[in-house]
């Protein structure tokens, strides 16, 4: 069992209600697409109006808090030209409340300061026939995202067919 076995799953394989608690033996939350998610508008309201919380009133507004309460972030996404698909990326774009607008210098680069004294493991499964060049970009993107959002990359996997994310979680227990 991972150190903190509370999962945060963001997946685009199956359409479902936006927020569901995972059922035993898993603990945590799964975020899915039901076609209602709103894109980040770049307003920075989650930094300067309601710090730590997105101002858009939908089920994805507390992504920072969900991330802060998770031991493992699991992304299951179609790979689109070396990055995640629109839904998974949309949820991640809504996660910036997890960090603070102030800057720090890490590895000689500017990044955002931590809001929560917390970090999490990161497992990413891309599906959908990425080329080797796209796989390289996707790997690099995951590493960069982990630096900016204070995660630790455990695994990045590429598969052809959309995987069953519950089977994936079993391998992580």
């Amino acid at each position: 069992m991972r150190e903190n076995h509370r999962f945060l799953v963001i997946q685009d394989v199956e359409q479902a209600e936006p927020v569901r608690e995972l059922e035993s033996p898993f603990a945590g939350t799964v975020f899915s697409d039901n076609g209602t998610i709103r894109p980040c508008t770049g307003c920075f309201g989650c930094w300067i109006k309601t710090p730590g919380r997105c101002v858009l009133p939908d089920p994805y507004r507390d992504m920072g808090a969900y991330l802060a309460n998770s031991g493992e972030l699991v992304l299951v996404s179609r790979c689109c030209f070396g990055g995640p698909g629109p839904f998974v990326k949309n949820v991640l774009d809504r996660c910036i409340s997890y960090v603070h607008p102030y800057f720090v210098i890490k590895n000689g680069e500017m990044h955002h300061r931590q809001r929560y004294h917390h970090s999490y493991g990161l497992t990413v499964v891309f599906y959908g026939g990425a080329t080797p060049e796209e796989q390289r970009t996707a790997q690099e993107w995951v590493q960069a995202m982990a630096v900016n959002l204070y995660g630790r990359v455990n695994e990045v996997r590429f598969v052809e067919q959309p995987p069953d994310w519950r089977d994936l979680l079993r391998t992580l227990l």
């Binding site: 770049g42 300067i48 802060a68 990055g83 603070h100 500017m110």
Partner: protein, 213 residues
Amino acid sequence: MICGSPKGKNSASWVILQGLRDALPPQAAVREYAIRTAPLPEQALRGIAACDVLVFAMPLYVDGLPSHMVGALLQLEADFRETPQKERTAYALVNSGFYEGHQNAHALHMLRHWCRRAGVRWGQGIGAGGGGMLPETQNIPMGHGPKKRLGQALQTLAEAIVSGGQAEDLYITQNFPRVLYRMSAESVWRRKGRKNGLSKQELFAAPGEGPTA
């Protein structure tokens, strides 16, 4: 010219595109599109598909493309595949609030990969750091002061576009010391917070020891 910022004309991406437009010859036939959400309306899709040169400008979101642009690009890719005989060249400008331009590299690589899939020739990409200061410094001409390097990069890009050429991607930082950029940015966040009635300490709120939704 395709502005992929959800902020449209209030964005750094828009400021950069206007700087590029000023660097292009006046006779260049330019259409402007602002993509704030996906899917694209049919009229915008048809208009973009009719262009020979596509210039994308967008902000970096979580180290990659904003999600609505991923959706819009998938839509364009599907459309372009239906007209593989049409030759198109794409140029791209990605900016971020981080100081270092190279942090935009992954987003530019994704746009390159999209080009391969959509049958579009890649022209050149520019990754610009310090995007946050651009809407605040619109009174300073491009190519001068803190915008010196950005202005030079836009001139290079304009020349590549006019010649239909390809060039190496460029990564630039603004002509402004990093320590001052950081201090200025943090001062702006505090000022904006105060306007919303928030103290400096309140900007550090960490809500939801347990999720609240």
